[in-house]
């Protein structure tokens, strides 16, 4: 969603409003990075709750700033009024899962009921089967409406894709911290240094400046694009 909108805007930049401000690009790349991190949490044997909470708080903060910044309202054609809320929902769903999954299974937990979805749903909406069968999982957000059904199917699809990774893909990500990946300048150039090259903001999301740290990371970002594309279609 973000990627699409931004690319289009940049293509029109010759005859239209100026290129997006650098801090917004930074915010965007930070948001994407954070979402990837949260998704990767699902892969780990035991997601670190503190880390998940801190990342989720960062995401929330980024979203607040982005929705306050009116220049970044991406007008979704069908549901223009719900644009910001959609974004809020999508990341909220992604954020919810780490500790829903962790704490929700325990029989001793009294708060085991699934969290109410942010969007209003018909009371009799059947919950979709979460792909991994996690009871407390936020993927239960389903409704008879066509668009929502499509949403759920897409999420299932994403989940399968993410699921198929090697169980320790995240470890692989962390392990690739030696050598060129740790060249902070290259990393910074790749992510934040888009200041100088506004049009290329999202080409450089994957840090191609430095040698690719690991196939998993690049693939994650590619999948993130995929994720946000699908989310915006609803």
């Amino acid at each position: 969603m973000f990627a699409r909108g931004l690319k289009r805007k940049c293509a029109d930049s010759e005859d239209s409003p100026p290129a997006p401000p650098a801090c917004s690009l930074q915010r965007q790349s930070l948001l994407d990075m954070s979402l990837v991190k949260l998704q990767l949490c699902h892969m780990l044997a035991e997601p670190n709750l503190c880390r998940s909470v801190l990342i989720a708080n960062t995401v929330r903060q980024l979203q607040e700033e982005m929705s306050q910044d009116s220049a970044w309202q991406v007008p979704a054609p069908a549901s223009a009024g719900r644009g910001p809320l959609e974004r809020l929902v999508s990341t909220e769903i992604l954020c919810r899962t780490p500790w829903e999954q962790q704490g929700g299974h325990s029989a001793a937990d009294s708060g085991g009921s699934p969290a109410p979805d942010l969007l209003s749903e018909p009371p009799g909406a059947p919950s979709a089967q979460a792909p991994r069968g996690a009871p407390g999982c936020a993927w239960e957000a389903a409704s008879p409406r066509e668009s929502r059904g499509g949403f759920q199917r897409s999420l299932d699809q994403i989940f399968e894709t993410l699921d198929s990774k090697a169980p320790r893909a995240a470890e692989g990500l962390f392990a690739d911290v030696d050598g060129p990946y740790y060249d902070l300048d290259a990393v910074l150039t790749g992510m934040v240094g888009a200041k100088s090259v506004p049009g290329d903001g999202f080409e450089t999301l994957a840090p191609t400046g430095a040698p690719p740290p690991g196939v998993s990371y690049k693939r994650d970002l590619g999948e993130l694009d995929h994720v946000v594309e699908i989310l915006v279609e609803t």
Binding site: Q26, R27, L30, M33, K37, A45, E46, N48, L49, C50, R51, V53, L54, A56, N57, T58, Q61, L62, E92, R96, W99, E100, Q102, G103, G104, H105, S106, A107, A108, D109, G111, A115, G136, A166, R168, E171, F174, A175, V177, D178, Y181, Y182, D183, L184, D185, V187, L188, M191, V192
Partner: protein, 447 residues
């Protein structure tokens, strides 16, 4: 200063897919006992290694007060939680010694879910001269026994025996990050991300929940408990830190469930330093009471702070550990280093504080003179009994000969776990699977 490294064997028996063969040997906690005679380390493989300080002797001046391996045992094994389909790591998160009450030593060790009480005893005599058994323990042929003898205790080589005395299981849904023995020597607490439990050392099937910050709706979760500790003298007081950078001092006399703090220690955010990472770097990774009980030491990502229990508004001292990383937070967020949890330590007289950093550096701050030093724990840069050379990180500008530039810091080499001898200037520093013990021979008296 002397150096004594723990030589760990390469362990191929773990079948996990890790980059490092010796992953299981990575030290995850270090703790001196109350006299400093013993030093315990726990590692990712669930083992505990205890070092004992050799008594100083005139015969062997070179081995004055050096630490040798005293005992090694497997404390925790990997487990599988069938309900959640999750592996429970055997990594030892924390070790705490109990005050010694008899000839035996006891310690608590914990992984993410289960705390165990271990008793360490020495055996240096054994009985000989049984009537019914021979020296190998086989039953004697009674027809050969013509007279009775009284078994006699004879000296033998010292044997250190470790046995699990208690297992405190099923107390925690989330991952245990701290344990702390109360000054009453009867109870202790264990803290996970959302709850703190109080246990009696003799009772394993029951614990009292004294703090619970789990929201009714997990969607509303924005803060977790990161560390907690009992006050060293007041058995009713304890402190816990949070991922939002706050400290809460609780009094167990006030209520059974200490959800309302007695004091809240929080420093207002500096608006000039605000960034998207402000909250993450404010998360407190460790909290330690001073030996006096008057102060608390906290570590967040970039600083260590000293708090006076009498002043909640802000810390009385703040020391920059590696402020040059402030401009690199985005990269450190990307490679997850920003979530590293560093520990901190007081010296015996509460005049010097110590904490670890990257590149196997660790830092010490003298509270009185306001001087600080950066030292490195590595085999290359320190030979046994050589004096450690202070290191410096240069941030651009004039660079001296042995300076390290910020960009060449190795973020995979980090000192997360450090400990200071309770009375003397001896420190233990863990760097991956190596343990470094440094002693200050020149100035043995504490400041």
């Amino acid at each position: 200063m002397g150096e004594d490294t723990d030589t760990r064997k390469i362990n191929h028996s773990f079948l996990r897919d890790h980059s490092y063969v010796t992953e299981a040997d990575v030290i995850s906690t270090v703790e001196f006992n109350h006299t400093g005679e013993l030093l315990a380390t726990g590692d990712k493989g669930g083992r505990v290694v205890i070092f004992q300080r050799e008594p100083e002797s005139k015969n062997a001046p070179h081995s004055q007060g050096e630490y040798d391996v005293y005992s090694t045992f497997q404390s925790h094994e990997p487990e599988f939680d069938y309900l959640k389909s999750l592996e429970i790591e055997e990594k030892i998160n924390k070790i705490k010694w109990l005050p010694q009450q008899n000839a035996a030593h006891s310690l608590l060790s914990t992984n993410d879910k289960t705390i165990k009480l271990w008793k360490i005893t020495e055996r240096d005599k054994r009985p000989e001269g049984y009537n019914l058994k021979d020296e190998e323990g086989k039953l004697k042929d009674l027809s050969t026994v013509t007279s009775l003898q009284v078994p006699v205790l004879k000296p033998m080589d010292l044997m250190v025996e470790v046995s699990p005395r208690r297992v405190f299981a099923n107390g925690h849904t989330y991952h245990i990050n701290s344990i702390s023995v109360n000054s009453d020597c009867e109870t202790y607490m264990s803290a996970d991300d959302l709850r703190i439990n109080l246990w009696h050392l003799a009772i394993t099937d029951r614990s009292f929940n004294i703090v619970d910050i789990k929201p009714a709706n997990m969607e509303d979760l924005t803060e977790v408990i990161t560390a907690s500790e009992f006050h060293p003298h007041h058995c009713n007081l304890f402190v816990y830190s949070s991922s939002k950078g706050s400290l809460r001092l609780c009094d167990m006399r006030a209520a059974a469930l200490c959800d309302k703090h007695s004091k809240l220690f929080e420093e207002p955010e500096d608006p000039s330093n605000r960034s998207f990472f402000s909250e993450i770097i404010s998360s407190v990774s460790d909290v330690k009471f001073s030996h006096s009980g008057r102060y608390m030491l906290t570590r967040d990502y970039l600083t260590v702070k000293v708090w006076d229990l009498n002043m909640e508004a802000r810390p009385i001292e703040t020391y920059q550990v590696h402020d040059y990383l402030r401009s690199k937070l985005c990269s450190l967020y990307e490679n997850d280093c920003i979530f590293d949890k560093f520990e901190c330590a007081w010296n015996g007289s509460d005049s010097v504080i110590m904490t670890g950093a990257y590149n196997n550096f660790f830092r010490m701050f003298d509270r009185n003179t306001k001087r600080d030093v950066t030292l490195e724990a590595s085999r290359e840069s320190s030979k046994p009994r050589a004096v450690l050379k202070p290191r410096r990180v240069c941030v651009g500008g004039k660079r001296r000969r042995d300076d390290i530039s910020v960009d060449s810091l190795d973020f995979t080499r980090k000192i997360l776990h450090t400990a200071w001898h309770p009375a003397e200037n001896i420190i233990a520093v863990a760097a991956a699977n190596n343990l470094y013990i440094f002693q200050d021979k020149v100035n043995s008296e504490t400041h």
